[in-house]
């Protein structure tokens, strides 16, 4: 049943498109660094060429990040920490499930990109995207399981440590 729903969603998204043209059409428009909720060029302006290992054809360029970019990305992440850690666990889970759903619906497209970019076969890579979705769903279901312990004690103990 679940499988059928997944198939239907894909049908709407990509139809049965495949092949090199579909793979090229799936490539991302943004080639920068993603942090602070947006896209940024590398501060140095440097870029790296990306090629398909199957044909040698150019797939464009990506930003070549360095320590300055890492610093900016880490700073943006640190700013987000206070907010994210205080999101209710079930809300975090709901967001992760949405991410899972987006990956599942776009599995053919993401598989197409991996096929042309890393050389792994398109059909097998659809399964890779599905595994990513199930990992997102799996850990979304575990948000309430990061539990601690309670320790029976009282106010007296045999040993007092003062470290």
């Amino acid at each position: 049943m679940t499988q059928l729903i997944i198939q239907d969603a894909r049908q709407e998204q990509d139809g049965n498109r495949s092949g090199a043209d579909f793979c090229r059409s799936a490539l991302p428009a943004n080639r920068g660094l993603y942090y602070d909720g947006g896209w940024h060029d590398a501060k140095s302006g440097h870029r790296i060429a990306v090629e398909s290992p199957a044909t040698g054809e150019s797939l464009g360029e990506i930003a070549d990040g360095d320590a300055a970019d890492i610093g900016a990305a880490v700073a943006s992440a640190k700013r987000g920490f206070g907010l994210w850690r205080d999101v209710h666990p079930l809300e975090r889970a709901a967001m992760l499930r949405k991410v899972a759903q987006i990956v599942r619906q776009n599995a053919r497209e993401l598989a197409a990109i991996d096929a042309i970019d890393c050389g792994n076969p398109f059909t097998a890579m659809i399964n890779d995207a599905d595994i990513a979705s199930s990992q997102l769903d799996f850990f979304a279901g575990l948000v309430t399981e990061m539990k601690g312990h309670s320790v029976p004690h009282g106010t007296r103990c045999n040993q007092l440590f003062d470290t």
Partner: protein, 362 residues
Amino acid sequence: MGPGAINFSIREPLGVIAKIIPFNHPIMFSAGKIAAPLAAGNLVIVKPPEQAPLSTLRFAELIDGLLPAGVFNIVTGAREAGEALAAHRDVAMLSFIGSVPTGRAVMRAAADGIRPVLLELGGKNALIAFADADPSAVAGAMIAGMNFAWCGQSCGSTSRAFIHAAIYDTVLEHLHRGCAAIRPGLPTEPETKMGAIVSRSQFERILAMIRTGHEDGARLLIGGGRSADPVLANGFFIDPTVFVDVTPEMRIAREEIFGPVLSVLRWDDEAAMVRAVNALDYGLTCSIWTNDLAAAHRTASAVEAGYVWVNEVGRHFPGTPFGGYKQSGIGREECLEELISYTQEKNIYIRLPQPNAGKVAA
């Protein structure tokens, strides 16, 4: 609980987590491996593989705006970007999937800041077939376990097959037939079952390892070089390659090739076979083929590997701990422990006010 106090611990996120992703399964790792740290309330900075960064960028386009700013981040680049990320003092934990040498470098960087690591590193994993195993099923498992679809570029691939002498020749017949049916093709075509090697440097490394197989005296059963298909002339394609009569001291029996190269060893002394299986610093997976219950349990206990299959190969099962013994890694993934590894535990002791405190005893 004991009177007058309550003591409990809670788990809290660590902060900014660096996720350094390998080239063999870009979207599976970029999208799937952020799940545990994010679920635990951490932020992630993903460093996608420089050889294959584009699906991670498309993933960010697709989920843009869904998570609060700063929760999910990507920094692309070459080695320098990875090193700067690993070295940054405000990164709370380093999580890396890839080779042992790079894992070692990540761990050194983590040591400078006394930071935890989660490492899933290489493997030179054994498939062990006993005399009672079905030769056809064993040959099928050897092929499936090699992950020829992605050219053996997988840390969990069973690239050393220890086959009992009683079934050795029959297994090789089945294996030859099975491998002959697998040919690389353009990865963008939906019917293709085996793709390309990710880069020229990996391609040349694999061809060099194939040369050492010849030099060390192994017998080539099939494959052994780049694909002859003219359609594939501009890419990095190597046919499924099997060396047989391999002995444990040969380089192709000891070093992770990370390519479509299977080394087959013959055994008839179980103790010597187990010693050879365990002789390497790797210890990620192991696949055992037998219907003898005692042999299966005995061998599953004896092998130094973190993930063991009996009469199965290659498959991962959600909720089961995947990770390596020895230099194949630290930590476990795909299970509750993965989530817990992205947390730190805080103990809280609360002394409760006593109802009779301050009163003079009668």
